[in-house]
Subunit: 396 residues, 2 copies
């Protein structure tokens, strides 16, 4: 059992960064010292000794007295440069930047291998839930069959407010921003992109594939209307943004992020507020379920802290499934049952649907329920109207 002294360069001092600073200061048993803190705006007042701060990030990455870089900035392009150069400088790295990680997985795996230093990013997926660690360590044999989850706390919070408090979309969104659940650019949350990035990382640790996240079938929650909420209520459904990936016996994977109707007896029905919930299906142990806080300062700080703590023992991801070069491949060639709400029949190409089960029309409301080839959802050839709302029926 090694117990390495960690000398940390912290880059970013937002809510999470400051939380980490406070905890490390108050937890001497972790034996981790923050040597320097990199910030963009050095004129702001900070709750830490001023000599710790610098806006010269390079001086941190190149500091021979620092062996760990904790990167907690928002800008994914700058984050990529920082992480890459830190790994090249043989420093261990902790990051929470899902967009950056999802976009550069192959290179980041190579950089870790070549420089023999770890990059940990538990905080990037599932808030405080130890999902990557569990996929790496516990589900490392090939029995995992499915991943299903609410993995964006911000949209879950917003959908809850739409459904329970009858708020409008913009009211709900501004409340989520006020509480610190939403990304600084909320479009990333509500378009489903944040969940797509996380699912891209999950696909690697769960099934060993690294894909262009553009291939993940997705539809956001931006267009969800009060008519959709009323439809769901009438059937006793809740609408949740669900990330889903499953593999069949022929190693064919489907992966999507879609607003989904959840029935009241489903496990996700009661995952409310900004909580995340993840169900893993395996051939042996049936469904396993994890839930916990998915967004906000402390859940993220908690995951970052666990990564820092693991570095004391030289923990690293093994990427076993990825390294095993399995024949698993993303295909997305199944049909999915969806509800689609729109303003005008002319904007919908009915020929894109394999089957249409129901159509409804009143003066103020038009929808259809039918089966759509999942890959066509991203192509958007079936709609001319970008204000269409689409909701998936779970397990169909």
């Amino acid at each position: 059992m090694t117990n390495k002294k960690l000398k940390i360069g912290l880059i970013g001092f937002g809510v999470v960064g400051e939380g980490i600073y406070q905890v490390l200061k108050n937890t001497p048993s972790l034996d981790a010292e923050i040597v320097k803190i990199g910030i963009k705006n050095s004129s702001k007042e900070r709750n830490a000794p001023s000599e710790l701060f610098t806006n010269d990030v390079q001086s941190i990455i190149n500091n021979p007295n620092i062996n760990v870089i904790v990167e907690l900035i928002d800008d994914d392009i700058a984050a990529y440069q920082i992480v890459k150069q830190s790994l090249l400088n043989k420093k261990a790295v902790v990051s929470a930047n899902k967009k950056m990680i999802a976009a550069h997985q192959k290179e980041l795996i190579e950089l870790q291998k070549e420089n023999n230093v770890p990059l940990l990013y538990e905080a990037a997926v599932g808030g405080s839930l130890p999902i990557i660690r569990n996929l790496e360590e516990y589900y490392d044999n090939d029995l995992l069959q499915s991943f299903e989850g609410i993995i964006n706390g911000s949209t879950n919070y917003i959908l809850g407010k739409l459904q329970e408090n009858n708020l409008s979309f913009s009211e709900a969104l501004s409340l989520a921003q006020k509480l610190g659940f939403a990304e600084s650019n909320p479009h990333i949350d509500v378009s489903g992109e944040d969940a797509v990035n996380k699912l891209g990382i999950i696909l690697n640790h769960a099934f060993g594939i690294v894909i262009d996240t553009q291939q993940i079938v997705r539809h956001g929650i931006t267009n969800i209307k009060k008519e959709d909420i009323a439809f769901a209520k009438e059937k006793n459904y809740k609408i949740k943004l669900i990330a889903n990936a499953k593999i069949d016996e022929n190693q064919r994977i489907t992966a999507s992020v879609l607003p989904t109707f959840i029935q009241s007896n489903e496990i996700f029905f009661n995952i409310d507020q900004e909580n995340n919930g993840i169900a893993l299906g395996s051939s042996f142990s049936d469904k396993q379920f994890f839930s916990g806080k998915g967004a906000g300062r402390y859940p993220t700080a908690s995951a970052v802290l666990s990564d820092i703590s693991a570095l004391r023992y030289d923990y690293k991801y093994e990427y076993r499934k990825y390294n095993a070069k399995l024949e698993n491949k993303l295909v997305n060639d199944c049909d999915v049952k969806v509800y689609v709400n729109f303003n005008n029949w002319q904007t919908i190409d009915k020929n894109c649907f394999t089957t249409i089960e129901e159509t409804f029309e009143s003066k103020t409301n038009k929808y259809l329920i039918g089966w759509l080839p999942s890959e066509s959802i991203n192509k958007e050839s079936w709609i001319q109207d970008t204000s269409v709302s689409l909701i998936h029926f779970q397990n169909n």
Copy 2:
């Protein structure tokens, strides 16, 4: 990344043992071979080639061609001898025997250290849930504050049948046995002893203390009467057997296994059937919740398989909190609010209660609700009557 060829000596060929055999045969990627299978009764017909079987367990433990012992027998005394000698012979060991592990933790930790071989036992606690792995790997920093769980699938199943199907205790028990959820000696489940053993193991991985499990406050479900079920229904509670451990800021720990009233808005309310559910409280990430199948063939086999799989990479428990020799200590000096149902006022020593809040008496039913020093529950000085039922009020 090492990828060790595992040559397994499997001891025990009950439902779990046979499941493991089948899976390893059908999963060549695990690169694990079962070299020999030790059994007690060699006259029984088995679903595996007869040349694999032997009733000479010593020949397996001493076989130089075997590097892993998977021990899946029921008898905790024989299991202890097998595990101890296997570790002394420098073989890695996987076991699911919670009673044996709880009773010999200190020695087993020493044996692992001295012989530099791992002993893994994820299947001993929480069925298919990766709870030990998570406590070891993810909650290894000192932020964990509480553990609360339904960790005995058999009693959870029985309590469900009492409450939802109005079965008698003995009907529910025999159903649990028929479905393979109960221990071969069901007293171990219904007395709470099985959960106590598991909590003894949890206390080590969660808080770094190894205690005599006799110190854990406990009361079983054997005496739960139809009047108790009626009382719970009236208040919209469910009764669940809850294992609980928490630590305060002075490193004082309380630990109990008690039948507990669960309110309908509590997370454990919907953990039914043979499922297990575990909630971890930490200062940072609030409550995290895990649930999944807790008893039966496949959940146990799933956990055993994950341990076998981890041995390929020389995974071992680090016992970080235990090795850190923290000042944490079990005290159990708090008062707990309980409901007690009994036949005769004379059998209850009211002086043992700190406060009595309610007493009830009808021709057929007598109970009181009051506060009892938790340590007195084990002493049973407060009752002369062993048929008393006791149910804890959660969070009180």
